[in-house]
Amino acid sequence: MSETLLAVRNLRVTYPGDDGEVRAVRNVSFTLGRERLGIVGESGSGKSTTGRAIMGLVGRPGRIEADELRLGDTDLRGLSERGFRKLRGRRIAMVLQDPKYSLDPVMSVGQQIAETHRSHLRSTQRDARRAALEMLQAVHIRDPERVYTMYPHQISGGMGQRVMIAMMLIAGPDILIADEPTSALDVTVQTQVLAILDELVRRRGMGLILISHNLHLVSAFCDRVLVMYGGQVLETCAAGKLAEARHPYTRGLLAALPRLGHRRAELPQLQRDPAWMADTA
């Protein structure tokens, strides 16, 4: 096992609600080395909230608590907004689902990438521009000079997501959290974007957390998969062995997926067991 980049022990995210607290995330523990970790689950399972909690992006009145939440040697518990701002982009970065909403619509994409470089590395305008062009090349954009000057509405979804990845990696973070990075893209483009992500993460020896609802995608892409339900991790599998998953929830989800070449008259529907909501720890 390589060095631990991120350690999470007993992470809890709670929101106040009308009938007491809503525990969006509870009892979540894992460590991340220089590897690809997948988090799968359905809507409301707490997978995105887990990612946001690590980034310090759970706004009031939500509350983040943990027995341990450590990025390298930095304790993230109770870190100020100022402190988080120094970490985000530089040491830990996040790619969101839809590039249409996460890019600034009134700034050229090149400038947006360069801005990240300048603000974190205090580089000159010229150096930042050069670094941004190199980064665009690294995410396989054919004509970086031209794309540099384009605005988000002028580029396709797949290109937008590559720009996002370029922006997130330019300051050289140790960890990248990708929250449904390809769900808004066409199937044919999804594979390309994932391949680029895979290549960069490997080459730079980064840790990656891939959050997705897509079991097959996660199991093909990651080394290890956490299956979340009701805010908790129900099961951890080695990715290639998802088919051998033991928990009835994971098995139910896999069975409910239609598969090409295995036509069934009726898809087995997931029967939810209330016992899955009980605290695991």
Binding site: E42, S43, G157, D186, V187, T188, V189, Q190, T191, L194, A195, D198, E199, H213, L215, H216, L217, A220, F221, G252, L253, A256, L257, P258, R259, L260, G261, H262, R263, R264, A265, E266, L267, P268, Q269, L270
Partner: protein, 253 residues
């Protein structure tokens, strides 16, 4: 039941017209389910919209249930063909209750027994009395899609057009909706034309599958042929490959 003969569909007119679908011919016999796959912009949703009469077609003939149709439809023609859209969050009126949503088509088509029809439509899609007076925001994604299906069914259509009906839903809910559609098709003898980017979803419900790329129908194949990779067109092969999911060896090459 659905016959498209050399249909061309364009957005806009004159030199700035964008041809979205070119010379498409497709026949769907009564009771059959046919799927259309392809990436965004390939024209698959445009085909559905033209069949539903939401947009005009520039050339060619569209025949539904034996009648040649135009953009201008009679009420009876509209009743035959109903459509279910992708996003159940966007296709239901936010300020109307489920009851109002279902009562509207009954009123427009001047159908009798409105009350009985609403109760029956809700029961058929697996919703109970408790859902009838709720607003869309008080329902889950799967329940909303059930309401959208009920709204289409309440007119007793013979053709159901499905535009990505499950892609906004969770896997477990997708299975429920797919099972519901299969059952409704069987019970009502519906003819289905479904659009999706997910080959497995299409192959689950449809016998024949049309592959679209850049406004052209490049290949018509079957679910069985897709499963055994017995397809002829290069684009279909690419689609199958991407659909198989991320594979590190192929991605690197």
């Amino acid at each position: 039941m659905i016959a498209l003969d050399d249909v061309t569909i364009a957005y806009g007119t004159g030199p700035r017209a964008v041809v979205a679908v070119r010379n498409l011919s497709l026949a769907v016999p009564e009771g059959e389910a046919v799927g259309l796959v392809g990436e965004s912009g390939s024209g698959k949703s445009t085909v559905l919209r033209a069949i539903a009469g939401l947009i005009p077609h520039a050339a060619g003939e569209i025949t539904l249930a034996g009648r040649r149709v135009d953009r201008r439809r009679t009420t009876a023609e509209r009743k035959t063909t109903q459509m279910v859209f992708q996003d159940p969050y966007g296709s239901l009126h936010p300020n109307q209750t489920v009851d109002q949503i279902l009562a509207l088509p009954v009123a427009i088509h001047r159908l009798d027994r409105g009350e009985a029809r609403i109760v029956q439509a809700l029961a058929e899609v697996g919703l109970g009395r408790e859902h009838r007076y709720r607003y869309p925001h008080q329902l889950s994604g799967g329940q909303r899609q059930r309401v959208a299906i009920a709204r289409a069914l309440i007119l007793e259509p013979r053709i159901l057009l499905l535009d990505e009906p499950t892609s906004a839903l969770d896997v477990s809910v997708q299975a429920e909706i797919l099972n519901l559609l299969a059952r409704l098709r069987r019970d009502h003898g519906l003819t289905l034309l479904m659009v999706s980017h997910d080959l497995a979803v299409i192959a689950h419900l449809c016998e024949r599958i049309g592959v679209m790329s850049n406004g052209l129908l490049v290949e018509i194949t079957t679910a069985t042929a897709m499963a055994s990779n017995a397809v002829t067109h290069d684009y279909t092969r690419e689609l199958l490959r991407s659909n198989a999911g991320f594979d590190r060896s192929s991605a690197m090459g």
